[in-house]
Every structure is written in C-alpha cells, then in structure tokens.
C-alpha cells in the first residue's frame, strides 16, 4: 500500500491511498441511515416539549446532569425527571442513543 506524505492546513502526516481525505461516501451513507432513523422516530420526536429538546441537546453533546441543571436553572431532580421522560418517549436503550437521535433530528452536529 503506497503512503503519501501530506502537508495540509497545518497538519502533516502520511496516508495510505485507500484512506485519503476526500473519500466521503461512507460518511454520506451514515447520514442517510440517520435520516431514515429520523423518519422512523418522527412521531415520538414531535411529541417532545421545547425543554425536553433542549435537555436532549445538552445530554447529546456530553453535559452531565449537574451541568444541565446549572445551565437551565433547574434542580438536578428536574433534570433527572426530564431525562427519564426522554428515555421513555424515545425508547432510548443506551447512552449513545441520545447522540444518535439528536444528530438524526439535526439538533446537534457530529
């Protein structure tokens, strides 16, 4: 496998030709899959309140419950409640699902 040496945007390093910057098909496929996921969760997502969406965004970006409580001037218990509601409404099975659904519905970028 040939390797190319590049110096781009202040970054220099070596790349195998099979993995050069610019080949983006796999990323597009991933986002297409997220679009489908957005469609299939459209109804549940539409039922979220504004506050729930805000909290979902903050969870998805990686903020802890205490952080979220501070940012939105809520108690930790309230945030925990909202989080539980989100889990139920959106059928969330693991922590990465918060990110997946937030990206799918374009609340945050990856």
């Amino acid at each position: 496998m040939t390797r190319k040496s590049l110096n781009v945007d202040g970054y220099s390093g070596e790349f195998p030709t099979s993995s050069l910057p610019g080949s983006i098909d796999h990323m597009i496929e991933a986002f297409k899959a997220l679009d489908l996921y957005a469609k299939s969760t459209q109804e549940q997502f539409a039922q979220l309140t504004g506050q729930e969406r805000r909290i979902l965004s903050l969870i998805a970006v990686g903020h802890s419950n205490p952080d979220i409580a501070a940012q939105l001037s809520l108690s930790r218990a309230t945030v925990q409640n909202h989080r539980a509601n989100l889990r139920n409404k959106l059928d969330i099975k693991s922590d990465v699902d918060y990110v997946r659904i937030a990206v799918a519905h374009q609340l945050i970028t990856l």
Binding site: E29, S94, D95, V99, Q106
Partner: protein
C-alpha cells in the same frame, strides 16, 4: 440529429452545477461546462495543454493526491455513482480553497465516460448542514489519522461496539473478555483518543467508517 457532445453541452449549460466529463481510462478531461470555466478560471484547452501544473495551482494538495485513486473508486462503484470531496481554488472573488462535493457516475450510454457534477454545500438545500458536517468530519479525519493508525484491532472493535450502543457486559461477551478488561480498554481508549463523550466517540466512528449503516 444532435450528436452526443452537443447533447451534453446543451444540458450542462443549464445546470447550476460545475459539470465535467472525464475519460474512464486515464481521467483526462474531455468536456467542461461554462460554469466550470467561470468558477475555476480555465478553459478546457488551457487545462489540457497546461496539464498537472495548472491542477496544482487550483487544487489543494490532499485533493490532488485523491485524484489518482478515483479510477479505482470508479471500478469499485461498478456503475453506481460515488461522491468525493475536494478543495479547489476559485478564480474570483476569493482566492482561498473552497470545498466542492463531486458526484461521479460512469454513463454506459456515453461509452463509460465519467460524468462529474460538482456543487458547493449551500447548493444541497435541506442537506446543506449534513454536507457541512461531512466536510467537518473529513477535516477531523485528516487531523486524527495518525491516532487512528495507532489503534489496535481490539480497540477498533471496541469503538464499533460502543458506537452501536452495546453495554460493557454485552461487549465482554462479544469479545470473549471479562467486564473489567472492557473497562480497562475503555479507559485507555479514552486517553489515547482524547475522547470525553459519546458524541466524540460516534464522530470518530463515523469519520473512520466504523459504523454499519
């Protein structure tokens, strides 16, 4: 009876995209539409005679390196279209490199000629933000490639499993290791990649093609 060349030109002149046709054998340009010339600043004749010198003037270094692999990508695509990102300098009004997304398809009706349609992110309508995210991920990939290279096979398996939402016990089962080993691997992965959230992890997984769609 319109000949094929005229047909291409008639259609391509009206599309709000940069259009060019390339040989499926050596990628040499055989046609560029007027928008190509007004955006990039060169005519077909200038490009054909000027050769690689002109390309290195208006194409960013990493994108230049990508072009030779496009022939391989064409064959892999096997008649389907594929999309790539490159950074080109537009003649006016700004001289800096701008991202261009090019969709390429070999057309049997035109002897396998590669039809290439290029658009800027803003031309993708409701997918504009997705495209900007893709461009960002491509940059991210560039910056983190050296890190990615240093990952062990185990570690990439772990990233995949985490990106799919498997719990530590699930992962332990799948990889035939103990839960505490999973936790140790996770800690070291976190440190190696500087990852501090699931979003970082998913970003990494998507950029480096570690998620099954």
């Amino acid at each position: 009876m319109i000949n094929k060349g005229e047909e291409v030109h008639n259609i391509s002149s009206h599309l709000p995209f940069i259009v060019h046709l390339n040989s499926p054998i050596d990628l040499s340009l055989s046609y560029v539409n007027p928008r190509f010339t007004s955006t990039i600043g060169y005519t077909l004749e200038e490009l054909v005679t000027g050769g690689s010198e002109i390309f290195s003037e208006y194409v960013r270094e990493d994108s230049l390196e990508l072009y030779p692999t496009l022939l391989e990508l064409t064959h892999q695509a096997n008649g389907n279209d594929f999309t790539f990102l490159h950074h080109v300098r537009q003649s006016a009004p700004r001289p800096d490199f701008r991202p261009l997304i090019t969709i390429t398809k070999a057309l049997g009706r035109f002897d396998g000629l590669l039809f290439c349609f290029s658009a800027e992110p803003r031309q993708f309508g409701s997918w504009r933000n997705r495209m900007l995210n893709v461009i960002e991920l491509d940059q991210f990939k560039l910056k983190n490639y050296q890190l990615f290279r240093l990952l062990t096979k185990r570690e990439t398996e772990l990233i995949k499993a985490l990106a799919h939402g498997f719990s530590n016990s699930d992962i332990a089962e799948r990889l035939f290791i103990s839960r505490s080993t999973v936790e140790t691997h996770r800690k070291s992965l976190k440190a190696k990649l500087g990852i501090s959230s699931y979003r970082d992890l998913l970003k990494f997984a998507v950029a480096f093609d570690l998620v099954d769609s």
